[in-house]
């Protein structure tokens, strides 16, 4: 059974590096970071040199005379108070400028996308088209989307290192941010604020597509999946209603499953979305994501087959 993490499928770079920015916002931060690292690295080199020089050059040798008793030098001490102060002031200027570039004002417009963070998955809503999906955020490449963040329970944090700053998702405190990807590619995202048991597997993908492709995707999602045609899939739909799956998955207490078959991952990035993995997940969610809110319904092999057949029709 192909277990293990799902972040590698598909032809995309599986990096999540803060130093490989793919948006103007992330690039501004990366440049400031690299510049700061060089500046701080130079200070570290200077201090290290001074310390090591002092202890090696002035190490105690047999017969060395008593050290001259020096109590300080006002002039030198003022110098190494003022110099850092000035250089930090310069750095502060870059900081203020970068803040503005990397997190531009969001104004009062209606958001393009609304993200609701749940313990331990992401609900993604496109208010204009009425599309709801989960754990895989599609955006048009090259265009800045205004995203609003809300939490359904505890504090989470939306982090796509290659695209944008982190932003906390605080219950009772909605946040907004521009999200943009220059290139059509898939980017890794993760919850970055500790949110309980399965914090580690609260991952997501940002799938940036050429605008035309994105529009097609949105249309597809709007259309709704075709009704199940085979007997087994029909039985799966009945089970979906009878075995209480619908109670959560139609009520935003679990991810919306319409078009599940088009998604690349299951369980917020914990597994690759294949029929076999889906079956294994239904049999025993804890084997993949221990402590998640998906219960083990003790489904029979038959029921699992029917449910998988149904869910695979959700394209």
């Amino acid at each position: 059974m192909p277990l293990g993490s799902a972040v590698m499928p598909g032809p995309y770079s599986a990096n999540a590096s803060t130093l490989a920015p793919a948006s103007p916002q992330a690039a501004a931060i990366a440049h400031l970071f690299v510049g700061t690292l060089i500046f701080l690295g130079a200070i570290l080199a200077l201090v290290s040199f001074l310390v090591i020089y002092a202890v090696v050059r002035y190490r105690d040798r047999p017969g060395a005379p008593e050290a001259r008793q020096v109590f300080g030098s006002r002039r030198l001490e003022i110098l190494w108070t003022v110099l850092p102060l000035v250089s930090l002031a310069v750095l502060a200027g870059f900081m203020a400028w970068t803040m503005h570039v990397s997190d531009p004002p969001t104004g009062t417009a209606k958001p393009d996308i609304r993200i609701i963070a749940h313990q331990w998955w992401w609900e993604i809503v496109y208010p204009r088209s009425g599309v709801t999906t989960a754990n895989e955020l599609h955006i048009p490449a090259g265009k800045a989307e205004l995203v609003e963040f809300r939490s359904a329970d505890v504090i989470h944090d939306f982090w796509v290192p290659e695209l944008a700053r982190k932003i906390d998702i605080v219950p009772g405190h909605p946040n907004r941010m521009w999200l943009q990807a220059d290139r059509a590619a898939t980017y890794l995202g993760v919850c970055a604020e500790f949110c309980g048991n399965e914090h580690a597997w609260m991952r997501f993908l940002v799938i940036a597509e050429p605008p035309a492709q994105f529009a097609d995707w949105l249309k597809e999602q709007q259309a709704g999946a075709p009704p199940p045609s085979t007997a087994e899939a029909k039985r799966g739909l009945d089970l979906f209603r009878d075995r209480t799956c619908a109670n959560c998955h139609l009520q935003s207490m679990g991810p919306d499953l319409s078009h599940l078959a088009t998604r690349r991952t299951l369980a917020a990035g914990a597994i690759v979305n294949t029929p076999d993995n889906l079956a294994a997940w239904l049999r025993d969610p804890d084997a993949f994501k221990p402590g998640s809110n998906m219960p083990n319904l003790k489904l029979s092999d038959d029921e699992v087959r029917a449910l998988v057949a149904y869910l695979e029709t959700q394209k």
């Binding site: 993490s5 400031l32 190494w80 504090i155 219950p171 993760v190 048991n197 402590g291």
Partner: protein
């Protein structure tokens, strides 16, 4: 400046514990030296416990998708590791040294309030036991708290943390908080009221100076934590909603309360460490501290600024750019007085006669490691960088360079420096050198690579991670480093155990140091100074005693 004499009838009475035998002599003791030793032993015990928790975490993280511990267990491990290391290790070690050394360093006979002193210790240790008792609780969501040492609401509220773990955590910390607060009051009162004649505030040893400042900092911020804990308990036990957004409370409020305490707490853990370094470096460089006034005044500046930087823990919360900018600027500013200290310590060694004792090695290690932690700290003050790197492994690396590379290195320097005074025997230097080098290697192996992990997008507080490029190797290196570090601690423990029995006899002043604690026998008698306190006419009383013709204040006056 004047000595406050005890009334005749009371003098000596608090020291009656001396007559008792065995363990009762310790439990019932109000002698600052015995209480101090108990602090140190308790903290070292919890250091080992907290270290074992860390090792379990590193085993879990050694390979991706590991199933060594469950997520519940892992979350308990890092919650207890953080809480233990902050509240039961670093602070008690520093308070322990202060309790033992401060009265000796100012030529006092004991703390200002000996009984309160014992109370502080016992409340603190009971708080620790209460905290660890949470492991024994059962039921749904039972066990130790699993909400992080910061216990962010609403995750720490009943709805999400069902078990009693968080209640034990809050009650335990309340105990520890009260203990620390009373200890601080005691240390302040002792410093202000019981100094030997001639020891003005401007002549205080720098360790005492920094303890005094830390004491005030504790008095200011510890009540904030205690209030927050009580509010959390009222939420959890009485159904209030201070921090429950659904019911009209605020999740952000808890963050303000916690960090208004939590960031000054970082300085509470580092200022006394600065104090130790400011004693050790001059002694082993054979020179007085370079720029006493700047080192002392920069401490005040740090303490003051530390009260206005807490929200740099909250840049990602989304509180607005003006808010972030203010706290970013204050946080950057704090680098200036800290830098002053680094330069002054370096200048102290310059043109000195540097003796590479283990204590000095740890002090030099501190200088370099703390500089790394301080500089990565500057990058977190720069708001946009924080937006990217906060809550990543870069923070884990940064905070360990400050608290391990900083505080713990300084504390080891303090242990090697003062062990002869406390025990009367020297710690073995060969074992000590092995301990130092293994600590340095293990520490850097564990934490240096975590900077890179953070830059590559690894979030912190995750029980496992996918095998992204490089993550696997780097995590394994970090785990290996943790075991090297564990080995170094083992060597330290062996060294202490052996040296306590067979170490070379120390004598009064084995290092040729200049402060008053070295003017009495090792270990000091119950009365501290049987031969009387030497006259204090400068910052280095024992130097002045040995060189009356070139006493410090004489030389300084002549230099103008």
């Amino acid at each position: 400046m004047k000595d406050i004499a005890l009334p005749e009838a009371l003098a000596g009475e608090p020291f009656a514990a001396e007559a008792r035998e065995g363990w009762l002599a310790w439990v019932a003791s109000v002698d600052h030296k015995q209480v101090g030793i108990m602090y140190l032993i308790g903290a070292l015990f919890f250091f080992v416990v907290g270290g074992v928790l860390a090792l379990l975490m590193r085993v879990q993280l050694a390979i991706p998708d590991n199933r060594f511990v469950s997520p519940e267990t892992y979350n308990q491990l890092f919650t207890m590791h953080g809480t233990t290391m902050v509240f039961l290790v670093v602070v008690p070690l520093l308070v322990g040294f202060a309790t033992y050394m401060l009265p000796l360093m100012i030529g006092a006979r004991d703390m200002a309030f000996p009984r309160l002193n014992a109370l502080s210790f016992w409340v603190q240790i009971m708080g620790g036991i209460m905290l660890y008792f949470s492991f024994a609780t059962g039921g749904v969501g039972g066990g130790a708290p699993a909400v992080g040492w910061f216990a962010y609401a609403p995750l720490s509220e009943n709805a999400f943390a069902f078990g009693p773990g968080v209640d034990y955590w809050a009650l335990g910390l309340l105990g520890i908080g009260v203990g620390t607060l009373t200890a601080a009051i005691n240390l302040i009162a002792t410093t202000l009221c019981l100094r030997a004649p001639g020891m003005s505030i401007r002549r205080l040893p720098l360790f005492v100076w920094m303890i005094l400042v830390t004491g005030f900092l504790i008095v200011v911020v510890m009540p904030i934590l205690n209030a927050g804990l009580v509010m959390l308990l009222i939420d959890r036990l009485l159904g209030a909603h201070f921090f429950r957004p659904g019911a009209g409370g605020s999740a952000v409020l808890w963050q303000h309360v916690f960090w208004a305490f939590g960031h000054p707490e970082v300085y509470i853990m580092i200022l006394p460490a600065f104090g130790i370094i400011s004693e050790v470096i001059p002694v082993f460089s054979g020179k007085p501290i370079y720029g006493y006034e700047f080192v002392a005044a920069s401490t005040l500046a740090i303490a003051f600024l530390s009260l206005a930087v807490w929200a740099h823990h909250m840049f990602a919360v989304g509180l607005g750019h003006a808010f972030d900018l203010f706290f970013g600027l204050c946080s950057m500013a704090i680098a200036v007085p800290t830098g002053v200290k680094i330069f002054n310590w370096t200048a102290t060694m310059y043109q000195g006669r540097v003796r590479f004792t283990t204590a000095m090695l740890f002090a030099i290690g501190f200088l370099l490691m703390f500089t790394i932690g301080g500089l990565s700290g500057v990058s977190f003050a720069i708001v946009p960088i924080d937006w990217q790197l906060t809550d990543s492994y870069f923070v884990v690396a940064h905070l360990h360079y400050v608290l391990f590379g900083g505080s713990i290195f300084a504390l080891f320097a303090g242990i090697y420096y003062w062990f002869p005074k406390i025990s009367g025997r020297m710690l073995d230097e060969r074992w000590g050198q092995a301990h130092f080098w293994l600590t340095l290697i293990g520490f850097n192996l564990t934490f240096m690579i975590q900077h890179v992990l953070g830059m590559l997008g690894m979030p912190r507080r995750v029980f496992t991670y996918p095998a992204l490029p490089g993550w696997e190797t780097m995590n394994l290196i970090s785990t290996v480093g943790a075991f090297v570090l564990a080995l170094s601690v083992l060597i330290f423990i062996v060294n202490v155990a052996i040296s306590l029995r067979r170490g070379a006899v120390a004598g009064d002043n084995p290092w040729g140091a200049w402060t008053l604690e070295w003017a009495t026998s090792s270990p000091p008698p119950a009365e501290n100074f049987l031969r009387g306190v030497p006259p204090v006419s400068g910052r280095r009383p024992l130097w002045d005693l040995a060189h009356p013709d070139r006493a410090d204040e004489l030389v300084m006056k002549m230099a103008g």
